[in-house]
């Protein structure tokens, strides 16, 4: 991003790399009507999954990311299930789904354990006791093998949408 102010360098993350298996998890998965506990492996069993870690609902990157993913509508072109994950509660997810008019489902992980298992924890400066995932995108195959991975090394940073689209087109 070409910003006039300095971005914060987050350094390396110990996240799953291309070819490795992404960690399994179970969390409440929110749609426009209800939420229920769902395992990531239940989703990947149905086909490739684009797992999008994003900053808490209401932040400007959350709005940008979901507007972009809604407009690109990759699920209509490619065989992929798009799901998000943030530390926001299921109630906030329902509001985001309505406000952004997205046909995607969102995992709720207030205690940030999934980010821990993915090695992408981001402790938020100025919000004592609050951590969330770094912005990150993983394209996973049916057995949760990582096909494409992007993890923010700066804060703020947004995904490279064209690179994701290339990865979707390749697989």
């Amino acid at each position: 991003m070409d910003l006039e102010f300095d971005v914060v360098d987050l350094g390396d993350a110990g996240h799953p790399q291309v070819g490795e298996q992404a960690p399994e998890f179970v969390r409440p998965l929110v749609n426009d009507e209800y939420w229920e506990d769902v395992a990531l492996s239940e989703l990947t069993a149905e086909g490739p999954v684009l797992l999008v870690f994003y900053p808490m609902d209401g932040s400007f990157p959350a709005t940008y990311v979901w507007n972009e993913l809604r407009d690109r509508a990759w699920d209509e072109t490619y065989d992929v299930t798009i799901v998000g994950l943030s530390i926001s509660s299921p109630y906030e997810h329902k509001t985001l789904i309505e406000d952004r008019e997205i046909p995607y489902r969102l995992f709720s992980d207030p205690q940030n354990g999934v980010a821990e298992s993915y090695g992408i924890v981001h402790d938020l400066d100025g919000m004592a006791g609050v951590s969330e995932p770094r912005p990150a995108v993983f394209l996973l195959e049916e057995d949760r093998t990582v096909q494409y991975a992007w993890v923010a090394r700066e804060w703020p940073d947004l995904p490279d949408y064209d690179a994701i689209e290339d990865a979707l087109a390749e697989h």
């Binding site: 409440p28 749609n31 426009d32 009507e33 209800y34 939420w35 229920e36 506990d37 395992a39 239940e42 299921p90 329902k94 046909p103 489902r105």
Partner: protein, 97 residues
């Protein structure tokens, strides 16, 4: 969006036959949950909207927006009202069953 499972089929740990539509902190829902635990019945919890007028998913499965509502694919039963559900669970899975 995932489809609501309303048809029968074998129950597994990951895909229990019973689905409970519930509202967080709703005492009538908790009453049903206690009964399900009492009979050791695996079930899937689906948490819905507090606003009654927005609970269309519950209306689609049960004909009304009230929770708790339960779908039991073992028996093909869909039911609302906690007293009715508890009585149904006693009758179907209790000692008398």
């Amino acid at each position: 969006m995932s489809e609501t499972a309303t048809t029968g089929g074998p129950s597994t740990a990951d895909d229990p036959s019973i689905t409970l539509y519930r509202l967080q902190a709703c005492p009538f829902c908790e009453r049903v949950v206690r009964k399900l635990h009492e009979y050791d019945l695996p079930f899937r919890s689906r948490f819905v909207e507090p606003m009654h007028s927005e609970r269309d998913v519950v209306k689609r499965i049960s004909g009304q927006r009230a929770v708790p509502a339960i779908i039991d694919a073992n028996t093909g039963v869909t039911m609302s009202e906690s007293a009715n559900i508890v009585e149904y669970l006693d009758r179907t899975y209790g000692e008398a069953a």
